[in-house]
C-alpha cells in the first residue's frame, strides 16, 4: 500500500517499510478505528444474516401487522407483519453487495480511463471531455435513467451506479498519474529502457493507489445512499427484496401510525455510510494527506 505521500515521507524520515508505516498510522487514527469497527459489525451482521435474523424476512404474518418495537420484534413489524430487524439484516447484505461491486467496477473503469488519459496525452482530451459530459448529468438522475432503461435488478443498479461514479474516479486517477509520471524514479526507469506499458503498470499505477482507495471508500458509501434512493423511487432491486430503500418506501404510507418502519432503515443507512465515511477520512489522512479536509 505504498503511495506517493508515504514514499515522500519515507524520504524525509527513513522508515523500514512505507506500507507498515501507513498501517501503523491507520491503527493510531481514532476515526478510522471507529469507522472500521462500525463497518466490520455491519459486514458480520450482513454475512451471517441468515443465522442471526430472528424471523424469515419475507414471511408475512397478518396477525402481527404494524406492531411497534417490543421484546419479540425488537424493531417492530411492517404492514405484512414482517419483522423489520430481520429485513434490515438481509437488506444490509444487498446494500453491501451493491456498494462493494460498484466500488470495484468503478475502480476498474476509473483506473483504466484515468490511466489512459493521464499517461497517453493524445487520449486525454477526448476521454476527459466524455467524462465531463457524463458528469454534467445529475449523478442520481443518470443512475435512475440507466437503471430504469436496463430494468430494475441488483446487477443493473450496480451498472447504473458505476456509470454515475466512474467519471469522477477517472479524474482522480488521471490527476494522480499526471503527478507521478514526472517523478524522478519514473524518468529513471524510462532511461533504463522500460517500455511505456511497463512504466504505466509497474511504476505509475501502483503509486496512484492511495487516492484511488480513498475515492473507492467514498464511492462505496455513495452507492449505499444512492441505492436507497433508487429503491425508494422504484428503480432499485424490486420488492419483496428487503433493501433499505424498499423498506423506507413501503413504510411511507404507514408513517403516521407506524413510524418505526421508516425510521430504522434510515438509521441503518446512516450507520453504514457513516462507518464508510470515517474509514475514508482515515485512509485519506494517511494515504493522501494533500487532500486532507
Amino acid at each position: 500500500m505504498s503511495s506517493v505521500s508515504s514514499m515522500s515521507a519515507a524520504v524525509a524520515a527513513p522508515a523500514p517499510s512505507p506500507g507498515g508505516q501507513a498501517l501503523r498510522q491507520l491503527l493510531g487514527h481514532r476515526g478510522f478505528l471507529i469507522g472500521g469497527a462500525l463497518v466490520a459489525a455491519i459486514v458480520l451482521v450482513a454475512v451471517f444474516a441468515g443465522a442471526l435474523a430472528p424471523f424469515d424476512p419475507l414471511r408475512s404474518n397478518v396477525r402481527m401487522r404494524l406492531k411497534p418495537p417490543d421484546g419479540l420484534h425488537w424493531l417492530g413489524t411492517d404492514h405484512f407483519g414482517r419483522d423489520i430487524l430481520s429485513r434490515l439484516m438481509v437488506g444490509a447484505r444487498i446494500s453491501l453487495v451493491i456498494g462493494l461491486c460498484t466500488a470495484l467496477t468503478t475502480g476498474v473503469f476509473g483506473t483504466l480511463i484515468g490511466a489512459l488519459a493521464g499517461f497517453f496525452r493524445s487520449l486525454d482530451h477526448v476521454l476527459m471531455r466524455l467524462m465531463d459530459a457524463l458528469m454534467a448529468f445529475p449523478a442520481i438522475l443518470l443512475a435512475i435513467a440507466v437503471s430504469a432503461t436496463l430494468g430494475a435488478s441488483v446487477t443493473n443498479v450496480i451498472i447504473a451506479l458505476s456509470v454515475a461514479t466512474t467519471p469522477h474516479t477517472a479524474r482522480i486517477v488521471r490527476a494522480a498519474v499526471l503527478v507521478v509520471r514526472h517523478m524522478d524514479y519514473v524518468e529513471a526507469a524510462r532511461a533504463l529502457g522500460a517500455g511505456e506499458l511497463r512504466l504505466l503498470l509497474r511504476h505509475v499505477l501502483p503509486n496512484t493507489l492511495g487516492p484511488l482507495i480513498v475515492r473507492l471508500t467514498y464511492v462505496f458509501a455513495t452507492a449505499i445512499l444512492a441505492e436507497a434512493a433508487l429503491s425508494f423511487i422504484g428503480v432499485g432491486p424490486p420488492p419483496p427484496a428487503p433493501t433499505f430503500g424498499n423498506i423506507i418506501a413501503q413504510g411511507r404510507d404507514f408513517m403516521a401510525d407506524a413510524p418505526w418502519i421508516t425510521l430504522f432503515p434510515g438509521i441503518a443507512v446512516i450507520l453504514s455510510v457513516l462507518g464508510l465515511n470515517l474509514l475514508g477520512d482515515g485512509l485519506r489522512d494517511v494515504l493522501d494527506p494533500r487532500m486532507r479536509v
Binding site: 457524463l134 454534467a136 448529468f137 445512499l225 455510510v273
Partner: protein, 314 residues
C-alpha cells in the same frame, strides 16, 4: 478576461455537444424494442407502428439524429408521448418550481455551512471544531429523502405546522408558498451543510497560516476582523468550487425530494418520464438539466476570475 471567457465558453459548448449526443443515444441503449414497454395486450400492430412513427423509430439513425439536432436548434425537445404536449413547454412550466426549491436550499446551505466551517476553523482543534466536524460527518451520511420523510413526520404529521406535501405557487399565496417549500428546502439543504462546512474549514485553515494573517494580527485587528476581512475573502475560491459542486448535487437531490413532497417540478416530470418510458421527456429532461448544470459551472468559472484576478491570466 475576454480570452478567458471565450475559452471557457468553447469548452462548455463542446461538452454540451457531447451531452446532447448522449441524451439522444438514451433510446438506442434500450434493450429490445423501446416501444415494447407500451405494448399491452390491447395494443394493435397499427398502434405500435404509429408509436414507432411518433418516436421516429421508423427512420434510419442518421435521419433521426439530424431531426434531433434540427429541433434542438429551435429549442424544441419533441412531443411527450403521455402528456401529449411539447416537452420544452412542460419543462419550462415546471422550471420555476425546481429552481426556487434548489435556489433556497443553496442559499440556506451555503449560509449555514460557511458559518459553521468558519467557526470550526477559528476554534481549530477545540470543542466547537469537534462539534461542527462530528455533525458534518453525520450530515454527509444521511439520505436526503429519508430526512425529508422524518421532517414530514415531525413537523407536518405530529406538529401540523407544515403541509405534508404539495406546492403552492408564490403568486397565488406567498405565505402558503413559504410553508410548502420550507420542509423540502430544509431537507435538501441539511445534507449539504456538512460538506460545505468541511470544505470551508479546510480553506480557511489554509489561509490562517499565511503571512498576511499574521500581519493583520500583529497590527492589532480583532479576531473577528481578521477572519471576516482577510480570512474569508481569501478562502472564497475554494468555497466557490464547493458552491458549484453543491449546485450540481442539489439539482440531482431535488429530483428525489420532489418525489417525497409531491412537488410538481422538473425532477418529478423527468422521473415520471423515466418510469413510464416517455422517451422524449427522458431525452429532453436529461439534456435540459445537464445544460443548466453546465451553465452554472460557467458562472462559477467566471466568478473565479472575478474573485481571483490571477485566474484570468491562466
Amino acid at each position: 478576461m475576454t480570452r478567458f471567457l471565450a475559452k471557457r465558453l468553447a469548452g462548455m459548448l463542446l461538452v454540451l455537444g457531447l451531452v446532447s449526443l448522449m441524451s439522444f443515444a438514451v433510446i438506442e441503449l434500450v434493450p429490445g424494442d423501446p416501444t415494447a414497454a407500451f405494448a399491452d395486450a390491447s395494443a394493435t400492430p397499427e398502434q405500435m407502428a404509429r408509436l414507432r412513427h411518433e418516436l421516429g423509430l421508423d427512420l434510419p439513425l442518421p435521419q433521426r439524429m439530424a431531426d434531433w439536432y434540427g429541433r434542438l436548434l429551435h429549442a424544441d425537445l419533441g412531443q411527450s408521448i403521455l402528456l401529449r404536449r411539447s416537452v420544452t413547454d412542460a419543462i419550462l412550466e415546471r422550471l420555476p418550481v425546481t429552481l426556487s426549491l434548489a435556489g433556497i436550499a443553496l442559499v440556506a446551505a451555503l449560509a449555514a455551512g460557511v458559518a459553521a466551517g468558519m467557526v470550526a476553523a477559528a476554534y481549530h482543534k477545540r470543542w466547537p471544531d469537534q462539534v461542527v466536524m462530528t455533525a458534518a460527518l453525520f450530515g454527509l451520511s444521511v439520505p436526503e429523502f429519508w430526512l425529508g420523510l422524518m421532517l414530514i413526520l415531525l413537523f407536518a404529521v405530529r406538529l401540523g405546522a407544515f403541509p405534508t406535501g404539495g406546492f403552492v405557487p408564490i403568486e397565488q399565496d406567498p405565505a402558503a408558498w413559504a410553508r410548502s417549500i420550507a420542509l423540502p428546502a430544509a431537507a435538501l439543504a441539511a445534507v449539504q451543510v456538512g460538506f460545505i462546512a468541511r470544505m470551508t474549514r479546510a480553506a480557511v485553515l489554509d489561509v490562517l497560516h499565511q503571512d498576511f494573517m499574521r500581519t493583520a494580527d500583529a497590527k492589532g485587528l480583532s479576531r473577528a476582523d481578521i477572519m471576516l476581512r482577510h480570512g474569508l475573502p481569501n478562502a472564497l475560491v475554494p468555497i466557490l468550487t464547493v458552491a458549484g459542486i453543491v449546485t450540481g448535487s442539489l439539482l440531482g437531490n431535488a429530483v428525489i425530494i420532489e418525489q417525497v413532497f409531491s412537488i410538481p417540478g422538473v425532477g418529478r416530470l423527468v422521473v415520471g418520464g423515466i418510469l413510464s418510458r416517455d422517451y422524449p421527456v427522458i431525452q429532453g429532461g436529461l439534456l435540459f438539466l445537464a445544460a443548466i448544470y453546465l451553465m452554472m459551472n460557467l458562472v462559477v468559472d467566471v466568478l473565479y476570475a472575478v474573485v481571483d484576478p490571477r485566474i484570468r491570466l491562466e
